[in-house]
């Protein structure tokens, strides 16, 4: 796909999504919610009263993300990057998942319009929030288990 934006340094209003992005927008992976009993960590980022919002659930077995689910109120970039993020994170160890960066998401999608790069941060932040939540719950669980 020709992406004049990037090549010309053009920073106008029009967006160019590549086929991969469109695929993740049209058929987002891991969309939905995890039931309460399967949820080991939950992350919520973004303020829908002003921009995009994302919710992300993880189910963790042996420090590995076994299940992941998200919902997103946002632009196609937000939906596609969130979808890709969950695809990347699924099956990874917590340590690996923690290191997934917004650049990794963009790269996996084969690029995203410059002005939409901030979207890819949303998923990453939601995942990190969910991991933090998992750590907190685990710590609380250990406390209880003591």
């Amino acid at each position: 796909m020709d992406t004049p934006n990037e090549q010309s340094g053009y920073a106008g209003p029009v967006l160019f999504y590549n086929e991969e992005v469109i695929d993740h927008f049209t058929n987002p992976r891991n969309v939905g919610e995890l039931p309460e009993e399967e949820t080991d960590g939950f992350g919520l980022v973004g303020d829908p009263s002003c921009g995009d919002q994302m919710k992300l659930w993880i189910s963790v077995k042996s420090e590995r993300i076994e299940k992941i689910a998200f919902k997103s109120f946002g632009c196609p970039g937000a939906i596609a990057t969130s979808s890709m993020l969950t695809a990347l994170a699924k099956g990874k160890s917590i340590e690996e998942a923690r290191r997934i960066s917004d650049d990794d998401v963009v790269e996996a999608l084969g690029g995203i319009p410059e002005r939409k790069k901030h979207c890819s941060l949303l998923g990453v932040l939601a995942l990190q929030a969910a991991i933090k939540d998992w750590e907190k719950r685990r710590a609380a669980g250990k406390e209880e288990g003591k």
Partner: protein, 389 residues
């Protein structure tokens, strides 16, 4: 494809293209050249000016050709501001103008002008009392658009014109969304300056114009040669000017029947979408609106995602806001009408034109219903459950 973004731009009428072609192929002379080959071009330009004047209901010298609607707006606003600087520095406009007026007013604020942005009611229209309240002895210009490009809401321009006349204040109206579409000639609006743009009424891009009522104080924006009565320098774009005049004549001819047809289609669309999709709002529906425009707000989804969803089905609509076209700020028009940023973000604009048929409306209603339903299924705002941690 089903194109439903006629407020953004329109296809060039093939008759207009045919009228323009000779001035690109054979009669390419410079209208200001002092020989017969140049005169051919000059004759075409002046014939176009007379034709446009006839359509607008004014005198030919009152028509100034520009390169687009934005230039016409800039010429009007900056031109009056400069010409009347000695008389005052206050400008009155509204919060819902097109950026061509709004950002020009903001630029003038940086140059020491004072600008009052009259609010609109929740229906998208200003109230004449609010305009009047904002006038002061140093008000030199009122600039208020005719129909809004996002919502189609029509401002009470005739009343504002009467008020401006009474107070001896120059009045400009941006009629880019109504020129060539209204039933009555634009000059009956009573404004001193009226902007229009050819590509909004099946004419070429790169051609706009400004009606300048005789005697209206106006400085040029582009200085140079003595073109356009010293109000707009630059070699005339003859083909574009010919195209503008041809397009305006053709559009005005069918404006009556076309308005009625579009209004029926728009009403059909709005009725059906409201019954097919829950939680949808039509913005500006209770104010007078142009017949072709529908601004819709869908709860819990993002406008740009709707636009892309429809795009993938060959249906072209736009977001109600520049936000969704890359600018992170939601539509200033919808916010001014009292929508929340989230609502503004969930808005799209449908604008109809001459190639839209009844079947298209039904296809669009179905596609839009599917898209919104799917997106609501993904939407985090639709989630009711937030796990307790």
């Amino acid at each position: 494809m089903i194109y439903l973004d006629y407020n953004a731009t329109t296809p060039l009428d093939s008759r207009v293209f045919e009228a323009m072609a000779p001035y690109m192929k054979e009669r390419w002379g410079n209208p200001s050249s002092p020989y017969s080959f140049g005169n051919e071009a000059r004759i075409a330009v002046e014939k176009a000016r007379r034709s446009v004047a006839r359509q607008l209901g004014c005198k030919p010298p009152e028509v100034i050709f520009t390169s687009c609607g934005t230039e016409a707006d800039n010429l009007a606003v900056r031109g009056v501001a400069n010409a009347l600087r000695h008389r005052g520095n206050h400008i009155v406009t509204t919060a819902v103008e097109h950026h061509a007026v709004l950002n020009t007013c903001r630029a003038l604020e940086n140059q020491g002008y004072r600008v009052s942005y009259v609010p609109v009611e929740s229906d998208g229209a200003v109230r004449i009392g609010n305009v009047e309240k904002n006038l002061s002895p140093d008000t030199i210009l009122i600039t208020i658009m005719h129909a809004n490009n996002e919502t189609g809401v029509i401002q009470p321009v005739e009343e504002i014109a009467a008020l401006a006349r009474k107070r001896k204040i120059v009045f400009h109206t941006d009629a880019v969304q109504t020129a060539g579409k209204s039933l009555s000639p634009s000059c009956e609006l009573g404004a001193d300056l009226i902007s229009f743009s050819a590509h909004k009424f099946y004419g070429p891009k790169g051609a706009g114009g400004l009606f300048v009522r005789q005697g209206t104080p106006l400085d040029p924006l582009l200085t140079g040669g003595p073109h356009e009565r010293n109000l707009r320098a630059g070699t005339e774009n003859v083909a574009a000017i010919v195209g503008l005049s041809e397009a305006l004549a053709l559009a005005s001819e069918s404006a009556g029947s076309e308005s009625g047809r579009l209004q029926k289609l728009r009403d059909r669309f709005e009725t059906r979408i409201k019954s097919a999709v829950p939680r949808v709002k039509i913005n500006g529906a209770s104010a007078p609106r142009v017949p072709n425009t529908s601004s819709l707000t869908f709860d819990s989804v993002d406008g740009e995602s709707i636009v892309l969803g429809l795009d993938l089905r060959g249906i072209y609509v736009s977001t109600g806001s520049a936000c969704s076209t890359g600018d992170p700020a939601p539509s200033h028009v919808l916010l001014a009408m009292g929508l929340s940023p989230k609502e503004a973000q969930g808005s799209i604009r449908i604008s109809l034109g001459k190639h839209v048929r009844e079947e298209d409306i039904d296809t669009v209603v179905q596609a839009l219903t599917d898209t919104v339903t799917r997106l609501r299924g993904i939407s985090s705002i639709e989630t009711t459950r937030v796990p307790s941690s």
